[in-house]
């Protein structure tokens, strides 16, 4: 029999039993997927963006298919932080060792801070993921995602009111990802998650207008993987905090590529839509790959593709 692979990874103070989790917005709050498999198979779950007040989200169509990917503009539809705490999160506590990471979105520092504070105090969030990069709402936090100074201010403010690890989700729609990564690290981020979606558009030729109702949408899926791998490869060598990698992960090999680029864990988004069993299957494939390649601890792979001598934060 093949050797057991040590799958545990550490994201700041967050200890995960394995490095695979669903990405925010691609798994709702977990209830629907719990009908398909036992969620304790997951290392963590990144739940849908949560805002202070309930949000209705954008008009439809909210999705479009593109080559090797899709566009979405859901628009942060969510029942608001109070209901998330009272109705959406508690059921997730039944799963052994499933870390709950709550994605926090907002429009200004105040509402981000208040949402984060309530989630942190609820005891139902093992970590927060600060969504400063959602491209799909006007004033939806994207201004924070493309400006290092604003981003740092926000991170500092949120850090003050939270006691759980703070993961900052970076936008790929920037000239210099390293600058963003360094800025939020300096402001106190415990980890990074990257990447959020690239801003894109698809035009309906018959209607002569953008197919997505609000015009632009966020591009995700295999199409964006090369961009994500590049950004993680660059950012991971420029900061000391760990990175959760995401963008087009469809298979165990894709996940291994993320580890080698510098990610410590991975999140799976669009793949869940194609295959509800994507997360557990990817985990199995990671194990098989490690066994086939004599890798005993998955965390050894992080940064394996860096050039000799390139060390994080060095």
């Amino acid at each position: 029999m093949s050797k057991e692979v040590d799958l545990s990874v550490q994201i700041g103070d967050l200890q995960l039993k394995n490095p695979v989790m669903p990405a925010s917005g691609c798994f709702a709050f977990g209830k629907e997927m719990a009908e398909w498999y036992d969620l304790s198979r997951l290392g963590a779950i990144m739940v849908k963006a949560t805002t202070l007040e309930p949000r209705l989200g954008n008009p439809t169509p909210r999705v479009a298919e593109t080559s090797g990917g899709m566009l979405n503009a859901i628009g942060l539809q969510n029942p608001g932080v109070e209901k998330v705490i009272s109705e959406e999160l508690p059921h997730l506590r039944q799963y052994e060792d499933l870390k709950i990471i709550v994605n926090v979105a907002g429009t200004a520092i105040d509402d981000y801070v208040e949402t984060a504070r309530r989630l942190s105090e609820s005891g139902l969030a093992d970590a927060l993921e600060l969504n400063i990069s959602c491209p799909n709402v006007k004033c939806g936090g994207i201004q924070f995602g493309v400006d290092p100074t604003l981003a740092a201010d926000l991170v500092r403010a949120v850090k003050q009111v939270t006691s759980v690890p703070l993961i900052v989700k970076l936008s790929p729609n920037v000239t210099d990802i390293v600058e963003m990564a360094r800025a939020v690290e300096a402001a106190g981020a415990d980890a990074l998650s990257m990447i959020n979606t690239l801003v894109g558009m698809h035009i309906d030729l018959e209607k002569r207008k953008p197919l997505i109702a609000i015009g632009t949408g966020g591009l995700s899926g295999p199409a964006v993987k090369p961009v994500a791998i590049r950004m993680i490869y660059q950012a991971a060598q420029a900061v000391r905090i760990p990175i959760i990698g995401m963008g087009g992960i469809m298979s165990g090999e894709d996940a291994i590529e993320y580890f080698m680029a510098g990610a410590s864990a991975v999140a799976v988004g669009t793949a869940n839509f194609v295959n509800p069993f994507a997360c557990p299957e990817i985990l199995d494939e990671i194990v098989a790959w490690c066994q086939g390649h004599g890798v005993e601890r998955v965390r050894e792979l992080t940064g394996a593709a860096w050039k000799e001598g390139e060390m994080p934060g060095a």
Binding site: R62, G68, F273
Partner: protein, 264 residues
């Protein structure tokens, strides 16, 4: 895995054109069929690669538990359904489902009305079959753009009267399905079930109003088909009475007619 969540590979056993750009596809499972209800949909991958990532939702048209077969009827309308139409007998398909909430059958109903428009007609076949088995008298009203697009009239005729409307009058009466929704007919109807394009459903909702209760099956672009992404929402009355967005894939596609809110 609970009853309603199934993913499987099926073999294509029949696949042929039934009208202009309309295909009838029968797929067979190796093992037993998962549970199904009329009005549910199959969520079908059209390629195995990453070229066309999203699945295509296609309503169940009929099923046979004995033969382990599902049949769907679909229109070739875009790139994905074009690829689907290329599948040959013996090819296999990756299918999720049947998914979503189907049409609820009510004990005690004696006369029901089925309304199908265009590619909203297929789910009426399994529904008519199951209603007939329960002894319900079924009348089906179907509408098409034009005669060359008419489908499934023979199949539906097995289960009761079929009334036809076409926009151009090339088959049945000229006009829309709603022209058949006379006071009289509605008065003797216990329940209606409708599926078709939004304008048709809105017209049906308006025409039935207080006069009849029934269900509407909605269509929205989907990301996942299983409630994860919130792509497929439609305005509807929420459990708490407010108007909000409900997920067509998971809370629908079938909703009580009075719950659905159409933007006018």
């Amino acid at each position: 895995m609970p009853d309603h969540a199934a993913k499987g590979r099926y073999s294509v056993v029949q696949h042929f054109a039934v009208a202009e750009n309309m295909m009838r596809l029968t797929i067979e499972s190796e093992g037993e069929l998962p549970p199904y209800l009329p009005g549910q949909f199959l969520h079908i991958r059209v390629t195995d690669g990453s070229d066309h990532l999203l699945r295509r939702p296609i309503s169940l048209c009929t099923a046979s538990r004995i033969h382990k077969q599902f049949t769907v009827v679909y229109r070739i309308s875009g790139k994905g359904t074009k690829l689907l139409a290329d599948k040959r007998v013996g090819d296999t398909l990756d299918v999720l489902g049947p998914l979503g909430k189907g049409f609820p059958l009510h004990k005690g109903d004696r006369n029901v009305l089925l309304l199908g428009g265009g590619i909203g007609v297929p789910p009426m076949v399994e529904l008519a079959k199951q209603l007939t088995i329960q002894g319900v008298k079924v009348t089906t009203i179907v509408g098409f753009q034009t005669a060359s697009q008419a489908i499934l009239i023979d199949d539906l005729s097995q289960y009761g009267e079929v009334l036809v409307a076409t926009n151009d009058g090339s088959l049945g009466q000229k006009g829309f399905v709603t022209q058949y929704l006379t006071e009289e007919r509605l008065a003797e109807t216990d329940r209606f079930y409708a599926c078709g394009p939004s304008p048709m459903l809105a017209a049906v909702q308006k025409a039935t109003g207080e006069k009849a209760v029934g269900y509407l099956s909605l269509e929205e672009r989907m990301g996942c088909g299983i409630g994860l992404c919130a792509a497929c929402v439609h305005k509807a009355v929420m459990p708490d009475g407010s108007v909000g967005y409900r997920k067509v894939c998971k809370e629908g596609p079938v909703f009580a007619a009075e719950e659905v809110v159409f933007d006018v």
